[in-house]
Amino acid sequence: MPDNTGTAIMQEYDMVVIGSGPAGATTALYAAKNGLRVLLVDKKQELGAPIQCSGAVSHNALEQAGVYPSPEFIQEAIYGFAIYNAAGEKKVIDYRKIKPGEYGSGEGCKPLGYVVDRRRFDRYLATQAERAGVTIWLKTEASGYRVLNNGSCEVDLCKFNEHITVKAKVVVGADGVQSQVGKWAGIKTHIKLSELASCLQFVVDGVATDGLLEIVTGHEWAPGGYAWVFPKGHGYAEIGLGITKTMCTQNAQVYLDHFLKNSFFKERFRNCRIIEIQGGGVPLAAPLKTQYADNLILVGDAARHVNSITGGGIHTALSSGKIAGEFLSALILSGKSATESNLKGYHDNWLKAMGNNMWKLYRVKRKIFDTADVIERDEQLYATMSNYFSPESEYKKI
């Protein structure tokens, strides 16, 4: 804004968060709650869109991050899983039957998880951040940052075609799987072709579901990934898959068509009508070894905070956002600068809370997909998925 001499005064915040998805909005929320002045920018006009996600998230994940499971964004409650092998044999893990007093739709019971509408979910999280005092600018793209010699930095933004530079103590890159923010600081963020699942899903009408996330394994249907049928609320379902392109020659669209027409579900899918088409790249990759630089950290998909067995990224985004928001507010309020060495604490906290387990999952995933023999690999994936979602799983909380 111009002062009375006509020169622009640079706006100043403690923190600028780039990208208002689950990771960015949660980082902003926890930083503002703890007293930081936060600017949250997103280049889109509508958060969450175009959807690149199936929307599955556990009740536990929302609870841990302090997100109330609101009907505003929940499309359907989930009570368990059905894991299929390539031939259609299945293992059902229905928590309504395993723990009937705890999980279910009855009084005193809770769902195991939800399928959320990412448009509404991302908007809800941004609203919570805004209500905690975060300033939100939509249609605002960030194009670079400069580290200043006084311990702070400047971020170049473009908001509705207006170029604005803001001053900040720290920048949070929450700009998703196609992150550019990390590249500004020289962090190697691009994902190997062998570790980026190419995903496509259809939201369909005319396919019945029963409160379970159905996961179909097998090289025949989804090489280097899996296919899924998830309940989507109001009688809709989503049918999708992710594949690894170094393990096959056709694209995701060809495999999804094959799954719809030729799989053991072909009768079930016969009358399905496609209502929406969504897709994306899901990093089934190791988390970034370095997630911070001077005045900058990365969270969520931008830091590869994705469960490389399930491809799930909402829980990991919410958790890393909370860790980042709490760490950065404590650091900045203590008067310390967000230097690279001071920001290492964020990475350490994250490793302790979840990162070490994510590394373990990554190694499990690698072991499966590095198995050359297809039959053996299919068996391993089916067994791993079946164990992963069982009540005895050591990774249940990731």
């Binding site: 190419s198 995903c199 669209q253």
Partner: protein, 74 residues
């Protein structure tokens, strides 16, 4: 298919679902993008690894060989 000559990518916008997978897998520097969350189409790519074409869920990225302007030294 890997090629060592620089290429210029083209996006079939009709099929593009704006998913950003091509950008995620791209080893180029920051900013090798369009305003629609895809890899750049208005400048040559000298890496030409073709990972973007491979990962595209709907196979809507193609390329032509980059031909430098005749008068320039390129």
């Amino acid at each position: 298919m890997k090629t060592k000559q620089p290429v210029v990518f083209e996006i079939g916008w009709n099929a593009c679902i704006k998913c950003g997978a091509c950008v995620a897998v791209c080893p180029q520097e920051a900013g090798f993008t369009t305003d629609f969350d895809t890899i750049a189409v208005n400048k040559p790519c000298d890496i030409a690894c073709m990972f973007c074409e491979a990962v595209c869920p709907v196979s809507t990225i193609t390329h032509t060989m980059f031909v430098p302007a005749v008068s320039g030294k390129a």
